[in-house]
Structure formats: structure tokens, C-alpha cells
Symmetry: C2
Subunit: 310 residues, 2 copies
């Protein structure tokens, strides 16, 4: 078991502008989203899932992802890496035109959620993912596949590891840069998280696997701990704990970036993120969204004891 005092790096992909904002009632204007990204960049986040290239009718909050991407790339150039979520060829074309650095291609293990989210079966979505990996590689984009419902489906319940492996094997054959296992609704527990990453860390390339958690049952940090213990060093997280999935009832906010970063720093990992600046961005986001935000570590961060004892 590694960790403390080794100064290993944990790579945090900020998914707030996508997984976070897509599920908020308040839709941020392009200018607000730009300010949010500016805050994230100032806090040291260098990999940002900027939005979804999906139907604006299905997910209205993501309608300006093309414009945001173009603006962000114009502002920061190669200083940050932008990722765009895609589920089909049309979305891929838009993402490419908008100038993203990489695509997150979503497939779903369970058919019921896949029909609602991707409007096709799990096998069809996986075939599409494979086709899009090829196109992305031809286009010089980085490639990542998000395997949704890797542990639990809101409609079908527990998802067997075999079923996840069937999807992941097909995708891995085409060597995406990253393969993300997603607890889409935040119902996984640390033992099943450990089990999946123990198995898949061996089967695939541990260093390219990503853990994506939601904090629905307040187990985001416990699950992240289980993944860290299995040698996983890439995580998704959402500033302020924003997040959810519009088609997955029960999905709550993602694991908060500030919680994940705090866990990593305390445990001796480097992330490149400055927590003070990150909490300042949480404050900005609270003004934009109009409701209190912030992860489980909120009261600790704001306590007088923190500066005295750390």
C-alpha cells in the first residue's frame, strides 16, 4: 500500500462544467461558465470536462458547449486540456469542430439506462464507442471511454462485474487513453469498488483507469479511498459537489473536487490544486447557482482549527 510521503501524483479531472451543471435547475450563461472555468484554472485544475455535445433539446444546459469550448481554448491555448462528452457521431463532429482536446465517449453497461441516456442498447453504444475511438485517434484527439453503471444501475440494480468486463474488454481492445468506471448514481460501496479495480487494474493498465464517483450516499470519499488503495491515480470530481445525471433518478452530486483534493493532500499525494483557490471558486459558483455548495470537508476548511493544526 503506497501513498503518504511518496509525493505520487493524483490526476483530477474536473467535471463540474459537464456532470455538474447539466443537472442544475439554474442554467448558467456562457459568461458565467467562462468565469467558472477561470476559477478552476486559477485553482490549478488542468483537465476540465467542459460540457456535453448532445442534443440541446435533451440537455438544454449544455447547448452552449461548442461556444464555451472555443472561448476557453482561445483563452488558455494548450494551458489546459478540455474534454467534451459525446455519445454519437453527430456529437463527435461538433466536439471536433469546437476544438476540444479530447473526447469522453459514454457507453452504459445496463440496457435500461443506456436506452434513456444513449437511446440505444448497451451493445450498440459500445460499438459506437469503438467507432468513435478510431475517429478520435485519426483526428489527433485524446480518447477516453466512460463506462456508466459500472456498479449499480438506477433501474436494474446491482450490475455484475462480468457485464462490466464484457463492455470494457471490447473498448480496451481499441486502446483509449483512459477508461473510466462510473458509479453513475453513487450507490457503490467500498468493497465492490476495491473488487472492480483489483480485477481491472490487472486486466487493463491500472495507470490509465479512472474512478468516477457520486456522493449520493456520502460514500464518495470512502470509495475514493478504496480506489486509491488499489493504485488508481485518476479521478473525476466536481467543484462544490455539483452534479448528477438527468436520466438517472437518485443521482446526486459528484464527489466534490475539494473533498478529493483534501483527501489526497492529507494522504501525501500531489494534485497541483490549491485548495484556497478552489474554495474561492466554490463561493463564486454558489453565487452563480444561488444555493449553498461545497463538499463534506466544508466545515473543516472553514474552521479556525485548520490553520492552527495543519
Amino acid at each position: 500500500m503506497s501513498g503518504a510521503n511518496q509525493r505520487e501524483f493524483v490526476s483530477v479531472c474536473e467535471v463540474g462544467p459537464r456532470d455538474g451543471l447539466q443537472n442544475e435547475r439554474v442554467h448558467l450563461a456562457l459568461e458565467d461558465k467562462s468565469q467558472l472555468v477561470a476559477g478552476l484554472v486559477k485553482a490549478g485544475l488542468r483537465k476540465i470536462e467542459i460540457g456535453s455535445f448532445v442534443s440541446p433539446k435533451a440537455v438544454p444546459a449544455m447547448a452552449d458547449t461548442d461556444a464555451l469550448t472555443t472561448r476557453v481554448k482561445r483563452t488558455y491555448g494548450t494551458g489546459i486540456r478540455t474534454l467534451g462528452l459525446v455519445v454519437n457521431a453527430q456529437g463527435f463532429d461538433r466536439a471536433l469542430a469546437a476544438g476540444v482536446d479530447g473526447v469522453c465517449i459514454v457507453t452504459v453497461v445496463s440496457d435500461t439506462l443506456c436506452q434513456k441516456n444513449n437511446r440505444c442498447s448497451s451493445q450498440q453504444a459500445t460499438d459506437t464507442a469503438v467507432a468513435l475511438i478510431k475517429r478520435a485517434k485519426e483526428s489527433g484527439l485524446s480518447t477516453r471511454v466512460d463506462v456508466a453503471t459500472s456498479w449499480v444501475c438506477p433501474y436494474e440494480g446491482q450490475v455484475p462485474l462480468d457485464a462490466v468486463q464484457r463492455v470494457a474488454d471490447q473498448v480496451w481492445e481499441y486502446q483509449p487513453d483512459e477508461l473510466a468506471f462510473c458509479d453513475s448514481i453513487g450507490h457503490a460501496h467500498p468493497y465492490q469498488v476495491a473488487k472492480l479495480f483489483a480485477a481491472f487494474g490487472e486486466r487493463y493498465d491500472r495507470s490509465r483507469l479512472v474512478a468516477h464517483f457520486h456522493d449520493t450516499q456520502a460514500l464518495g470519499l470512502a470509495n475514493a479511498t478504496a480506489a486509491l488503495f488499489q493504485g488508481i491515480r485518476r479521478f473525476d470530481a466536481s467543484v462544490g459537489g455539483l452534479g448528477g445525471c438527468p436520466f438517472a433518478p437518485g443521482a446526486k452530486g459528484n464527489l466534490a473536487t475539494e473533498d478529493l483534493v483534501h483527501l489526497c493532500h492529507l494522504s501525501g499525494f500531489e494534485t497541483g490544486v490549491q485548495l484556497d483557490d478552489l474554495w474561492a471558486t466554490v463561493a463564486l459558483l454558489e453565487q452563480q447557482i444561488g444555493r449553498p455548495l461545497g463538499g463534506q470537508s466544508r466545515s473543516w476548511f472553514h474552521s479556525t482549527q485548520r490553520t492552527q493544526h495543519n
Copy 2:
């Protein structure tokens, strides 16, 4: 790695009436404490740290521990096991007279906190602990030693594992029934928790070791996960997340019993605790204390999705 689907038992010691109430501004009346204990018993908790047998001047909230113990034993008989915290011979005499089933004898690894908490050096407190184990065994009481500041001291910072071992070795020689390692102020992280229990699980008897966490930095569940992964099956927790230490600045509430139980149940362990009844006791306690209580899993427990998807 064990856990899910094995139906192993995790033993939860409820420390709310002691570690919880000693640090609340509102001091509960004896009648209120009795009601609280009734709620805990109804929820299935069978091992309860009922209070501290310390100077009522030092910790006024614990002044009625003798009376509470007598009343609880009269009500429940052998149906529950009551534990009383002691730090010296006077306290031990009171605990014995009051009729506790067992004593939690506190020693502290770091001298600075030991001077404030026990009014002696760590070595003196450890000598006292040894003497009290002997007396408790002669008196037929169950014995447990709480090793405070097992990871971090609020005054001295990081506590070396060697120093903890020096204390624990001396105590273990006299074979207490349980040996508890306490993150007294909630500053430990999962890697150091795993390291300690990996080492001491081998050195002592893993099945008799107890993990005691506070949720100061929102890592209570992450640390509990680390301890579970190391085969620890005995935990302290505090209903509603009550708790702290009057002499340890920065100490916040204990790991909430409802959070721990939820983690255990979701992970496939049995605890004997009914979460609905436990949350009813949290509600009672909120009325008694006059402020909102409840662990990190509060919003999940009260969500409409819970009943739909679990």
C-alpha cells in the same frame, strides 16, 4: 479482502452518551439521558459507553454518570453492556460502585494532551492503565484501554507509530479484552490508519482491536473503510455525530453511528442496528440538544430515492 456478502458482524460501541455529550454546551438531565439510552437500545445498540467517571468539576456534563449507570442497569439488566470511562483509581472505584459492566481506561500517547486530559505523563497514565486492568479483572469487569492520540496530537502534531506501540505493548501485556486506537481529534488519514492496523493487527489480536474516529476533516467513513479493509471489526461511533474532547482543541464530532452502520450494511456486514430506529433517536437527540445533528448520510437517509433503489 472480505466484506460484501459474507455476513460478518461488525461490533459498534455507541459512545454518544460519553464522548458525545461531554462536549456539548447543553447538559442533558438524567431523564433525557435515560431516554437517549432507551432510543439507542431500541435501535439495537447493545454496547454503550454510558459516561465518564471523572471529576465533575473538570467535566460537569458527566457528573451524573453514576446515577445514569445505576438506572440503566436496573432497567436493562444484562440486556446491554455498559462501559464507563476512567482515568484513575478514584474513577474506577466509582465505576465499580455504580455497576458498570466494563471500563474504558484511557491513556494518551502524547505527553502534552496526557497532562491536560489525565493530569500526568503518558508513562504514568500507562502505568495507571495497567494497574486498573488488573483491578478490573479482579472485579469481574470487562477491560478496554483507549489509546488516545494514536495518530495525531492537537499539541504535538503527528504521533510516530513507534510511540503508539510503546504504549500499546505495555498495555497488551496485561491482556485487556479490547484495545482501542483513537484518532482523538479526527486528523488521521486513511493511509496512516491502514498502516497502524496492518502492523498492530499482526502484533496483537486483530479481532480485539477497536477503531475510534472523529469526523473533523470529513474522513471518518474513509478511515473506517481503511480499518475495515485491515480486518478491524470493532468500532466506536456516536449517534448523530455528537462528540469531541473538552481538552483537545479541534476535536469535532465522532464518526456518526448512522454513517458507520450504513457503510457496514451496504458493504454486506451485519451490525444488529436498525437504521430507522437509529435516525429516530437522532431526532430525539436534536430536540434534547437543540441543534441539527446527523451524519454525512443524512440527506441520503431522508431522500425519496432511498426507498426506491435499495
